[in-house]
Amino acid sequence: MLSSESLALIDLEIAKYPAEQKQSAVMGALRIAQTEKGWLKSEVIEFVAAYLDMPAIAAYEVATFYNMYDTQSVGRNKITLCTNLPCALMGANEIAEHLKKKLGIGFGETTADGRYTLKEGECMGACGDAPMCLHNNHCMHTRLTPEKIDELLERLK
């Protein structure tokens, strides 16, 4: 189900916790699985649960509770834009309008070609560099302007 590289990374997560507490590694394991697969299909969640000797339902609970896991398919590039107050004060709503217009989709939608998904995010803990977005959960782009968005979208094509 998962590559040997992903399994090796999951094993490193497991090693952080006491031997009888493998479930503690579920957040890291789901992240690693999602990075490989793009999003978390039921079979992937169930595989992770089995790998960690935990009930599948407990892994589902985690996958659906935390915002950064995707339990439905997303585009190749998921862009999560923070619109919370400090970002909004610095123009996040204008960035949102620009992104929506440019991609022709709203928050929570994916372009027809499967290239982009746009999401509205909550505080990313970097408000001094507002406004900001995350690309595929792990890469933060800060001090956004419409021009910077254009450059980013061009690069991700």
């Binding site: 957040m27 992240r31 407990a58 400090p86 610095m90 505080c123």
Partner: protein
């Protein structure tokens, strides 16, 4: 700058150095000396706690609870596993200081956690890092690897019997995990839903074992206090508000960023450091301690000093030290609408008053903002807010209620105008 010089930059002194995050930089400027001395000389934990109490170090995550007192709650002599956990799940809108500590001075946090492990009898620690800052999680993992290789973490440190392992745990997007018992649930691989208290983590924490949870900045301050003594730290700030504090200044200022200043520094000075209000605009309002802290009118803040006691006296909270500045162009209804959406989105759903009340408040503020407010909405908003705060397992309920109550208290006329005229007065 150095850890050996008692500067006001307790946590941010590495910022101007080359390779600020490198182990070599930290060690060259006095890093890990306090840990080495404490462990090699077998300094009694009681002495360290006494220094922390003297320092008047108060929790930097939001609650401002005295750190020395918190450490004294741990059953340190209890045989068996105990844990020290660092709360780096920094998701309170406006707060971004712990990110910078981990980016520019990770080893001071590691040293602080190792000292905590020694005092509290914990052989293992975890640093729970906010989900959205993956690059910081990765760089902290590299700092841990450096510390292990150099013998500052691991088995039998400095040739003694003391061993301490430290690991990073990466969150994945849940504001509620900043609440300490939700964080523990999350560390155990579960949904982040807060636990009933009591029992408190000091008696029933991670995996049911005694656990102390401190904020990143709190733990990173410990090596400084061990180096220079509790009295020196106290004297940096003011009585009952020891030390310096990182303030994250965001919003309508010319130079948003982190500024570390002594507690008790006038707000006007902090604002000036951040370049003042942007474009020469007039200051309208300030949220002085993260989005959960009550908003204050600009003129009230201008008379305030930045410390726990003064901000509390003015009717708000110093909280995490996240200062959100709003100028005269801000519509307070729209600002509150966004904050209320946040609490509605992030409520874990466990307690009915919070789960239902946050949505109810958001929908009311949304309709007021969109010209569909009803005459009795403001009274109803206050009433709903009053029935959430204090009636939930954790403080997210209070955190959702306080912005609503304070925006209505100080800027009620804007809300009334919206309801009456179906449009904004700004």
């Amino acid at each position: 700058m150095s850890l050996l010089a008692p500067s006001v930059k307790v946590c941010s002194w590495t910022r101007e150095l080359d390779n600020p995050a490198a182990l070599a930089t930290y060690v060259a400027h006095g890093g890990y000396q306090a840990l080495r001395r404490i462990i090699s000389e077998n300094v009694p934990g009681d002495d360290i706690i006494a220094q922390l109490k003297l320092s008047a170090l108060r929790g930097r995550g939001g609650a401002g609870f005295p750190t020395g007192l918190k450490w004294s709650f741990m059953p340190r002599a209890f045989p068996g596993d105990k844990y020290i956990v660092c709360n780096s799940d920094e998701g309170e809108p406006g707060t971004f200081k712990d990110r910078d500590i981990m980016r520019y001075n990770p080893h001071q946090l590691i040293e602080g956690m190792a000292i905590a492990g020694y005092v509290l009898g914990a052989k293992v620690g975890y640093n729970y890092i906010h989900g959205e800052i993956f690059d910081v999680y990765e760089s902290f993992e590299r700092a841990l690897a450096e510390a292990r290789a150099a013998g500052y973490l691991g088995d039998k440190l400095f040739g003694t019997d003391f061993s301490f392992q430290l690991h990073a745990h990466h969150g994945y997007g849940a504001y509620i995990c900043g609440e300490e018992t939700a964080l523990l649930e999350s560390l155990e691989g579960k949904k982040g839903q807060p636990r009933f208290k009591p029992p408190f983590p000091a008696s029933f924490g991670l995996y049911g074992k005694p656990t102390t949870i401190n904020n990143t900045e709190t733990l990173a301050s410990v090596p400084w206090i061990m180096q220079h003594g509790g009295q020196a730290f106290l004297e940096l700030g003011k009585p009952n508000n020891g030390g310096s504090k990182l303030f994250s200044v965001s919003g309508h200022v010319n130079k948003p960023g982190n500024y570390e200043v002594p507690l008790g520094t006038p707000f006007s000075e902090l604002l000036a450091m951040a370049g003042g209000v942007r474009n020469g605009h007039k200051l309208k309002a300030v949220i002085p301690g993260g989005s959960s802290a009550p908003v204050l009118p600009g003129h009230v803040m201008m008379d305030c000093t930045m410390d726990f006691d003064c901000v509390a006296k003015a009717g708000s909270m110093l909280g995490s030290g996240a200062v959100i500045v709003m100028d005269e162009t801000v519509c307070m209804v729209r600002a509150l609408e966004r904050l209320s959406y946040f609490y509605h989105e992030e409520s874990c759903g466990q307690c009915t008053p919070c789960r239902e009340g946050t949505g109810w408040m958001y929908r009311m503020i949304h309709r007021i903002e969109h010209g569909q407010g009803r005459p009795d909405d403001l009274e109803l908003l206050n009433s709903v807010a009053g029935k959430i705060g204090g009636y939930t397992i954790c403080a997210l309920g209070d955190a959702a209620a306080m912005p609503v109550q304070s925006f209505l208290k100080h800027f009620g006329d804007e809300f009334a105008y919206h309801v009456e005229h179906k449009r904004c007065m700004v």
